[in-house]
């Protein structure tokens, strides 16, 4: 199934340029979709725009973007005019810097996209950039205008393509010191470390996307299926609230031993 690209443009490394396209790595298409209905008529509810002053409906063709110049003073901008913004990074991802992947912490990652070749003509140039990054174990850093903001982006080879991440702005990340003030500088108790290491080892599993399953969506689908058959009301399944033992310092060691014992029992 061909998906319309979210963005089209060029990938550039020094004098090498190739046409590329991009799509979001996430999608809503598999989500249970609801429509909004009117409770009284059961008809679909749709939204439209009305003129804020006259209250009359505004046709789609009459909607235009307004850039606020002052209070209640707008300049109308057509999409074609916006395309003339004089900034290379609206159309070209020019990779300016390469850095080891580990040097960019997870917290900077904002939205992932899949970047691929748009025209077979660019296949070789794209592959050169991708394979050279992979061979050097580097990610590329560049700038790109998306949703009318110039973002820092990170490019990482992935299979035949490249994953492009928008990176957060510096002032979007909150200062971690304010949150971890209460954590002392002492490392963990050396006597307990072997135990926690053992526990981690016992419970280490390979990554699997199914770990991010959504039990609620399945329940909603069940509910819909039931309603479709009959009109029985579902009852709320009560989960027994757990009573955590609390972070008592004295019994961490015992708790760790019990955990390891419990786990070894399962494996035996």
């Amino acid at each position: 199934m061909a998906i319309r690209p979210y963005w089209k443009g060029y990938l550039k490394l020094s004098l090498v340029t190739c046409p590329v396209q991009m799509m979001p790595a996430t999608t809503d298409s598999e989500k249970v979709k609801f429509h909004t209905l009117s409770r009284t008529t059961q008809n679909r509810v749709v939204s439209h725009y009305v003129d804020a002053v006259t209250g009359k409906e505004v046709k789609e063709g009459d909607e235009v973007k307004g850039y606020e110049r002052g209070e209640n003073e707008y300049v109308m901008l057509e999409d074609e005019e916006l395309d003339a913004v004089a900034l290379d990074s609206t159309k070209t991802i020019d990779i300016s810097v390469f850095a080891p992947r580990d040097s960019i912490q997870w917290i900077w990652l904002d939205i992932p996209y899949y970047l691929s070749v748009e025209d077979p003509l660019g296949q070789e140039a794209f592959s050169v950039i991708r394979d050279a990054m992979a061979a050097q174990k580097m990610v590329g850093i560049s700038k790109l205008v998306l949703s009318r903001r110039e973002r820092s982006v990170m490019l990482e080879p992935r299979g035949k393509g490249i994953v492009l991440w928008t990176l957060r702005y510096g002032d979007e990340i909150r200062d971690q010191n304010a949150y971890f003030e209460g954590v002392g500088d002492e490392p963990a108790d050396p006597e307990m470390m072997p135990l926690v290491q053992q526990l981690i080892k016992q419970q280490t599993k390979p990554w699997d996307g199914k770990m991010a399953a959504d039990p609620v969506q399945d329940k909603l689908l069940d509910l819909i299926a039931i309603k479709k058959k009959s009109l029985k009301k579902p009852t709320k399944a009560k989960a027994a609230p757990a009573t955590p033992s609390g972070g008592n310092v004295i019994n961490i060691m015992d708790a760790l031993r019990n955990s390891i014992k419990a786990n070894s029992g399962k494996h035996a």
Binding site: L13, V16, A25, H35, T36, E63, L82, V97, A188, P234
Partner: protein
């Protein structure tokens, strides 16, 4: 600075050990430059209105319900309480169900990061888990009800603390393999790969955090100014795509230009001339092609 407000409070549990923790927003979302939607005819702002598609009457928020379409035009109605009932009751516990080697994790699942901090009583258990995971180079998977939804989070050591990243649901993530399946396999070897690696080597650096004042805002202001003054900005120049037959030459020239630039104190200035140089080179066609290779080998 006022004490940060917790988004969620509960317990983090690994094995039989539990510690009291709280989640705090670690990153706020990027704000785009917002335009207002105007009515072209009147120049007035517009506002959104929700109406009944059949009767055209305005439907107020409290009269809106969710409907699941079963057949064309036939809906099963779900009241907000019924949707809420599908979410299990919260036991306020992030129970770690598995540890995953950090280098195996598919980061495309990442949604939002939260700082995960211990309460005063739980620092010892917290530090133990943090250092244990750091040493084993793993992150932990846990599930709980967050913000009225059942969410999976990935917990990883971060400085003195932990970060819990919410994960997108599996059905929300496109498979990378499928996304790239239409592209042919192509592995680059030999001189091309060497040249490209060489270019990357000359551009090694660090990621500099950028501040929110982005150049787009300035460029947009310039556009608006031009329009007010009745000027039109020149159309952006068409981008020249490397032709397959030019590719090796473009790489050689890039590598050559990089090597030359390295000897000069100002790289940016040197790079600025590269485009012009290349256009000349293309016009001059192949006879000069070998000089680029020479430069690289000499460097």
């Amino acid at each position: 600075m006022p004490a940060p407000r917790a988004q969620w409070k509960g317990f983090l549990k690994f094995g039989e050990v539990a510690c009291g923790v709280a989640l705090y927003t670690a990153a706020s979302a990027a704000e785009r430059i917002s335009f207002n939607t105007l009515n072209r005819q009147t120049g007035n702002r517009v506002r959104r209105e929700f109406i009944d598609s059949e009767t055209g009457d305005v439907v107020e928020r409290e009269d809106q319900v969710k409907g699941y379409e079963v057949d064309n035009g036939q809906y099963i109605v779900l009241e907000p309480e019924e949707v809420a009932a599908a979410v299990p009751e919260s036991d306020k516990t992030l129970k770690i169900t598995a540890f995953i080697p950090c280098n195996e994790i598919d980061d495309v699942y990442f949604d939002k990061p939260y700082y995960l901090a211990p309460d005063k009583m739980s620092a010892d258990a917290f530090v133990l888990l943090r250092d244990g995971m750091k040493k084993a180079k793993v992150a932990a998977i846990a599930q709980t009800v967050l913000f009225r939804r059942m969410r999976t989070v990935l917990v990883r050591a971060h400085g003195k603390g932990l970060i819990a990243t919410t994960l997108n649901f599996d059905y929300e993530v496109r498979s990378a393999r499928e996304a790239f399946e239409d592209m042919p396999e192509m592995e680059i070897k030999g001189e091309m790969l060497e040249l490209a690696q060489h270019i990357i080597g000359t551009k090694k650096g660090t990621f500099h955090v950028s501040e929110a004042d982005d150049r787009y805002e300035d460029a947009l202001a310039e556009l608006v100014k031009a329009k007010m003054e009745g000027r039109t900005l020149p159309k952006p120049k068409a981008v020249k795509v490397s032709q397959p037959s030019d590719l090796l030459q473009a790489l050689r020239e890039s590598a050559g230009a990089m090597a030359a630039a390295d000897k000069k104190p100002k790289r940016t200035a040197a790079n600025a001339n590269v485009g012009a140089k290349r256009e000349k080179a293309i016009r001059a066609a192949s006879p000069k092609a070998k000089s680029g290779t020479h430069q690289l080998r000499a460097s």
